[in-house]
Subunit: 570 residues, 2 copies
Amino acid sequence: MTFTAFKPTPESIPPQNNVLRLKLSGNSLVNHHPLNPLEFLLRAALIYPNKLAIVHPDVKAPAFYTFSIWAQRVQNLAYALLKAGLKPGDRIAVIAPNVPMMADILQSALAARVILTTINTRLTPQEVAYILEHSGSKLILIDYEYLHLIEGTRIRVVVSNDTGRNGDPYEQFLSEGRQFSDEKGWLGLEMEPDENTPTMLCYTSGTTGRPKGVLTTLRGTYLAAIANAFEGQLDRNSTYLWILPMFHAAGWTFPWANTFAFATQITMRSVDYSLIWKHFLHSRVTHYCGAPTVQIGIVNDPAAKRPPQLIRAYIAGAAPTAHLISSLEEIGIEPIHVYGLTETYGPFTRSYLQESWSSLSLDERSKLMARQGHAFATAGDMRVVYRADESPSGPHGDLVDVPKDGKTMGEIVTRGNIVMKEYFKDPFATNKAFRGGYFGSGDLAVMHPDGSASILDRGKDIIISGGENASSLAIEQELASHPHILEVSVVAREHKKWGERPMAFVILHPQHASKWNSRHEEFAKELKAHARKRLPGFACPEWVEIVSDLPKTSTGKILKTELRKRLAKL
Amino acid sequence: MTFTAFKPTPESIPPQNNVLRLKLSGNSLVNHHPLNPLEFLLRAALIYPNKLAIVHPDVKAPAFYTFSIWAQRVQNLAYALLKAGLKPGDRIAVIAPNVPMMADILQSALAARVILTTINTRLTPQEVAYILEHSGSKLILIDYEYLHLIEGTRIRVVVSNDTGRNGDPYEQFLSEGRQFSDEKGWLGLEMEPDENTPTMLCYTSGTTGRPKGVLTTLRGTYLAAIANAFEGQLDRNSTYLWILPMFHAAGWTFPWANTFAFATQITMRSVDYSLIWKHFLHSRVTHYCGAPTVQIGIVNDPAAKRPPQLIRAYIAGAAPTAHLISSLEEIGIEPIHVYGLTETYGPFTRSYLQESWSSLSLDERSKLMARQGHAFATAGDMRVVYRADESPSGPHGDLVDVPKDGKTMGEIVTRGNIVMKEYFKDPFATNKAFRGGYFGSGDLAVMHPDGSASILDRGKDIIISGGENASSLAIEQELASHPHILEVSVVAREHKKWGERPMAFVILHPQHASKWNSRHEEFAKELKAHARKRLPGFACPEWVEIVSDLPKTSTGKILKTELRKRLAKL
């Protein structure tokens, strides 16, 4: 299947004399234009109409859309939403993997001025039902593979069979939109006049309690997307591979970072390492995002070898180990370590490389790279603080910066344009998160003398061992340096004498696993000895368990809550 | 003189535990931060404190400032302004070439929340007096070389001898600022809460009538600076050479584009081609801006040869000829052709390279590159329009797009965040410029089928020859392809039969000038023959005059008004 063999539906072809400009509200000012990341796509369609925008090659019915065609499809979808009776501010939901429909709706929602809820495809039907109910979604766009998640729903549903061909109900929906538009085109769609209007509604995975709906704005998305494009040097020669699910925090704003930079996006339905390597080696991929666990899978795939082009990998979700960083660099992948949360539109800090690091050993350098670093391009300031006064009195008065000693623990807080608008329908949680005039991340960290931060742990992951605070992340970093370890996670386990002690769950590297068959206890001994050389006594694991798998969220984060549940049963 | 031998004044050294954050107003929101390009410098000082920020090497007393030191000096200057009694919104003026004081004040004005007027150093004392009066400037920062421009002024003056050493009155002023701050540091300076507040006041050269004061905002400067950094791929490995005067439209926002990207800036007091080549070849320069006349001087300098690193040249102020583009590319300089006006913060369009151009001849490719192109990253839309109805009735109703035929002439108009706030104290001129809901550039252009624009001429430069509109720029483009021509300018001259006919003023290339000594008429014949092969009859020059120099503005634009005055005397 080649690009030229694919024919988009007739309704995907823009009309002659297509005007790539939204209608402005009557009282708009000449010199003040609401920030709106949809405009990046319209620019791309104007300047590079025939450049490939969306490539979806690894399915029975591959599809290839240029910026010009894609923009028309986005417009058709926007009109289809209006035809369905949706009004500005209404919520709709999408349940899909990384497919063209998903790329479309992340743009069309802005054109139709509806709020889009991107639902994690790994949730249970009950969890999905909760999100649909809580968001008040009036329409669901769903990929054929996930229909079981919404059985019996009374909300209107549009199904995509992911074919891009006539006969697909999603294509029918788009075509109806095109008919409905009456060829009014982009000028028939009014630009949202207020850049602070909500646009995306992403529910956090909610390891404790009900998931919370993170509401973000057009302005924040615009500024975060530009920052992500700039930090990774995305440009018109870039090809971005979608490994990170787009439903996760709206793809960390990369749907718009890519249109801003005129980059080509390749979509894949699932994280398949052999497919990833096919694209790395043959599709000129230059950028992708992924959590460390995904990166580990990539570097350890049998197909891994140095690609002909430089690839930049945004790593976030957890700190990369020195071992992972060196593994990536060895095959020509340049890691960009960023940090953020759904509440910060994805990344808002970066570990900025320093010239002086080039003289350091890989181990030392990797530890510096694994820091969360400094707030990035368009983010506001990041601080590590404790709360002198827990009453929410003054707006800023109660936050005290920890000393820049690399030791004193505090919470990472931030403020600025890439902090969410609010938790949807949850003013109590919003106020709590915004206490002291900053958004509290819940991540415990230290501030180094150079003003960069390192996360020690999520608050609940700290291990209190003999009265000392042991960072589970720091322990994992050191254990991961053992050459036989593929992945490791450390949690607190009750201990009669010390209160808590660390327990390590380990996946062995496939190349070395056979060596330790039926010799788990010996491996535990060896790993404990390895730890004692590198960690203080209170931080050494008291227990080591070899496992074949670790429980993870759909976005690749290890679920320590699950590990703790397992412990409770031991 | 080396970097290490330079010692900044003691007051330039930041205190221990320096906090690089401005004070926020009491009612600031957690998730909405006013856009302010001063924050780029504070970030640079936090993340790369010891990287060189400002290098001023080619003077008796060279100076070298790191981001950390420079930020402190900027803060000192801000406090010195407050000590001088200035209040938010007050105007101050600076009269200086590209020196550190100029770099400082472009940042400090934002910290002290005063409006900065950057005055062109080539103006007459009368013109300077007009601007000081019109702007209501309460303080003047001036370089020692330009004191004659303000003789007898009653405004407070701070003189810089451009030494960066104790004993310099400017250094004394900074030191007093440091004392006045009482070490309150950045947290003693309140961040401007409204991003739409005016910040720069740049007077247009005013070829007709009084100069107009172009007022720009923090938001516009922030967004334009990011776009300039992105379009030229400025980053922390970049070194920017200041050839463009910083007083010209506030240096096209590059003072902030450079801090955004953590780039090093080299300042030079004047445009000296041998110095430029010294830096190209030995100072790892990667970026600079300049009008075509400056670029011509650069490529024709005897020292010109391929530098060891890639250099990107932003070209604006007039369209580059094919000859210039090829000359730049031959020595490894990549031209980025941008277009803009003082009213658009400098560049707001760019000629975007297309893959398909690579198969074209240099001549064809250069013509495409010489187009003004499309609106860029954070600019709003650009249109080429005529006014169906000259009455300023509806906000948008009266603008009609010309057909995209590459032929029909209209005016380039734009709107969006990088359009000025207003002409200072001139609501009449502002309303006129903003007629129809767009800013009218006054530049006459055509729209090509691909949505890119080409300027034919400033309205008054069009030559009406035998009832046909002849573009003086298009004629110049063709004449410049003659290998013996260094520079050429074409204006209309009265003609009995045809109304007007083109007259060409030509500077010969030094290598070929001697050949035509006392044979000017023969050269004129040859050039006319050259023109007839390339241009329609009505556009061929009727007269050709060889000159040794062309009248130019301080920013390198050819003054056609002066050429027309000469004609009137012929």
